[in-house]
Symmetry: D2
Subunit: 307 residues, 4 copies
């Protein structure tokens, strides 16, 4: 397939959508970004990359980081992790407290905020100090993205903490149910640290290869997780990866994927490639408006879909 | 692959689970069934079938019928149908009124009861008379299952109606929001009629082929729906096919599937086969306990999975 | 106290509020009423009445009828009635299904719609035929209001039934939990029949005397209920009589009261008088906007309040 | 009336209930209390007190303190306070986050935990330092109870803070909606400080006189709040003073009252007296089991009731 041509077509076809949607505005660092940016990269199993747009521009990966922490926690704890989080779609906005209260502090899945905070807390059980815990997460991302320069934007991390009352509410509520072990401020700070990591679409699509290849990096042969764990991460991405629009994403795009409010989305075509797309303006459900559309165009044009 | 051997192994391995779970007991006709029954059939694109267990025994397909009515309504209305139902997982039990009220009478997806009742109502917009509407549904199922004897169990249908107050509550609530057009008693009766249809695993697995083959029957070449519609039905099955355990099913089985409280489950392996399994005792989420386990064993043993 | 002067003052002071609020518009018979009407009557224990405005104009008492059916059901069943309904404020709109579902079909109190439907069903346990059940209710109201002409507006009753899907949803939901004994359509029709009764403020304020006088009519000496029952009905009026604005009514008016969407409100000053006010336009919580204000003025001007 | 005899009778009649219920056990300081204690005091407008049981024993007033902070905040802010809190019953447990989320961080009333935390935050707007804010509250209680020794139990206050994650969750959630102005830890610490104040039934019943007397202390003539404010506080006590059992308390006791998990309850008979009762074991709704019963006996025996 002529992936270059397809990506060019997509870039052309999404242009009319530029200007729609709204960038995340709950912290200044994200609110001030130029919304009219676009990038898309696919990475094949031999390392070949095809890109269009600003594929070298770094942006805040935000909730995409939850995919990496979930993987890392599964490496450490395996199936035990599911005593502390579920894997069901939530049917509620990503930061709702309602369901968490009804379900006694066990978050529905690792991709809603509450679930990701529990995952971060689990990682801190080994490294209770916030900075060391963050370093472990960052180093794992550097490893799977094969890129040693990846790091957080400290201004974003600090700014999130200053506006993070709802996440602190979630963490305190879970602590009241006994589902947070470490100091709440440390856990939430670590969580914001990994959300503030910056990457570009080249790095992100590269980092998806182990999930497309049953847990093993197809380029360097490194085994990160078991085939079963990789398949199950993909399943959780498909059912829960886009908050309350996960069904819609599966419906329109038909691929396991994970989005972040920075405007990035990663997706996986099993046995074939990793994909990343970026455009900062978000739709009503908090996912990249242009990015979602670009991925739908990609599966339509290529006929690639898990269904 | 030696599918006969695999099915035999599965039948052997699920034996210790017989006796666990509980048959649906809200109507006598279902409550009196012998729980220790099991059947599983796969149907390939050339029509070859492999079965194990009581694959000729008819049982009540119940909510599996929602898959057929959803297909039929998409044939009639296409994308317009989504003005009346969503395609998001519900995060609530299958017959909850809570979400329906908060979301102003628009059911989350076509597989929760409220959604299936709206789909039935949509079909009755063409055939407002209950019996004719039922006949259209039944004939479509006969067509895709290639089996002219398929029909409903009238005792089950009547018995459901006698205990169907919660479904009547759902229908009345949606009517109050303007999302039911036809007479409520007729709509709910038609709904119970198609839920009371009886099939066996041979018929059910045969009837999945069009969904595995992008909308076209691979045996007789009949085009039922478009490739895009077929993929999207599969996506909705994956994210919403098992009520509040849909995430768990995707996680453990990794296939688009739909279950019914009669103990049946159908599943699709895109481009390869249709699958049906049956065992009447249900797990805590209302899905066949042994059936779910058998499907998990099947994807583990064959390595077939969409992820 | 010069009640005539006080009522005149009130009528004058509420004039600027005329034009605010909105009449109930869910059925044509109520929607077409002239909103700029006002009446207020107080009835003392010796039968003396003071009125202002259109105190002879009949209007639909709607939910005020729930007070009479609640009294009648307490006469029949006493404390047993509380097995089927609670007496707690609901914290939700008057016709919500959410709480009813969480609390397994037991309505929070006799004044939300679900609770009033259960009360009507309880009355029909003696008189399963809708018309006879209605007649018993009507005759009781005639008795306590000392007015033999009181009856329902049949057009309103029929019209309510045609738009009563939400109440049918409530009734079906409660039936699914086993908390409705009689035929659903009959129960809901009887409920709409008593809601469609017409009275004026003279009749309504007269009918409150037994509640102001511990269960005994102070004029004719008739004992309707026990002192304890009367006090408790007043308590339930105070905490639950105005749906989700009950706290606000207690806060501003400080009297036990019950409102209806026809624009009427009745209130009780223990040991002193019955009060009725009417003005059709409703505030955001579904209570008479001018009526609520008039009652607040009355307690402010007279210093009469239970607190 | 022979109040001594009545109180003796009550003490006798509640004896068989001793042993029922359960003391609050979320912090050790409360869990270790002897449940079989009882005290009751009434204070008349001339200062005469009648007591039975351990009326000199100090206990933790807990949520009764919310009544004093609510009064104090009304003194400071008047009607403006209602921009930040409502006055409707909540229909949910006292520490639920659900309603708070749906209603955008505005607590339903000043007596649920969220509401009391907002009230404490409002008091800290004048005195942002926790200790000074606490001192103002304590001094006001000393004033109205006419007892200069009243103070907090520091072990209880500290212990609450160590187990206060749910209250921290509430405070963070409200902060995310902009309804908390001061430092969260300081606000919650101040809140726990005033909950940890210790009083006995003599002090508590004395402190209710201003509410029974329209805002003015009947003994020393001090005007604390306006008559309207006092009546409205009584109204809020009646509709919201006992969490999700407020309707039940109004129904059975028929007086404005406020309870605390330390087992104390205060109540007001307008124009006549203040009442306090104490017994540590709680009923299922978190109110003193014996205390509630004693108050019901008191209104039954004396015929005193606002209805």
């Amino acid at each position: 397939m002529d992936y270059n041509a397809i990506l060019q077509e997509i870039a052309e076809e999404v242009k009319p959508l530029m200007g729609q949607g709204k960038v995340a505005d709950y912290i200044p660092a994200l609110a001030n970004i130029n919304p009219n940016q676009f990038a898309m990269t696919i990475t094949l199993f031999d390392g070949t990359q095809y890109s269009v747009g600003s594929a070298d521009t770094l942006f805040s990966i935000q909730s995409i980081s939850k995919l990496y922490t979930f993987t890392l926690a599964l490496k450490h704890y395996g199936y035990e992790l599911y005593k502390r989080i579920g894997r069901e779609p939530s049917g509620n906005p990503f930061n709702s407290l309602v369901q968490l209260e009804y379900e006694h502090g066990i978050p529905r899945n690792p991709f809603i905020n509450a679930g990701a905070i529990v995952v971060t807390d689990a990682l801190m059980d080994h490294h209770p100090q916030s900075d060391i815990a963050y370093n472990e997460i960052r180093d794992f991302i550097r490893l799977i993205a094969d890129e040693t320069t990846i790091d957080r934007d400290e201004i974003v991390a600090r700014s999130e903490m200053e506006h993070g009352y709802r996440n602190l509410a979630l963490a305190n509520l879970m602590k009241s149910f006994g589902n947070i072990n470490n100091d709440i401020l440390d856990v939430v700070q670590t969580y914001f640290n990994h959300c503030a990591i910056e990457m570009n679409t080249k790095m992100l699509s590269r980092s998806m290869l182990y999930l497309a290849n049953h847990g093993t990096d197809p380029i360097n042969g490194e085994v990160y997780i078991t085939p079963q764990q990789a398949k199950r991460i993909n399943a959780v991405m498909l059912t829960c990866g886009h908050y309350d629009a996960s069904g819609d994403f599966a419906f329109h795009v038909g691929l396991p994927g994970k989005s972040g409010v920075g405007g990035g989305i990663v997706a996986v075509i099993p046995k074939q490639m990793g994909i990343a797309v970026w455009s900062p303006a978000l739709n009503g459900q908090g996912n990249s408006l242009v990015g979602t559309h670009a991925l739908e165009l990609f599966t339509t044009k290529t006929g690639l879909s898990i269904f």
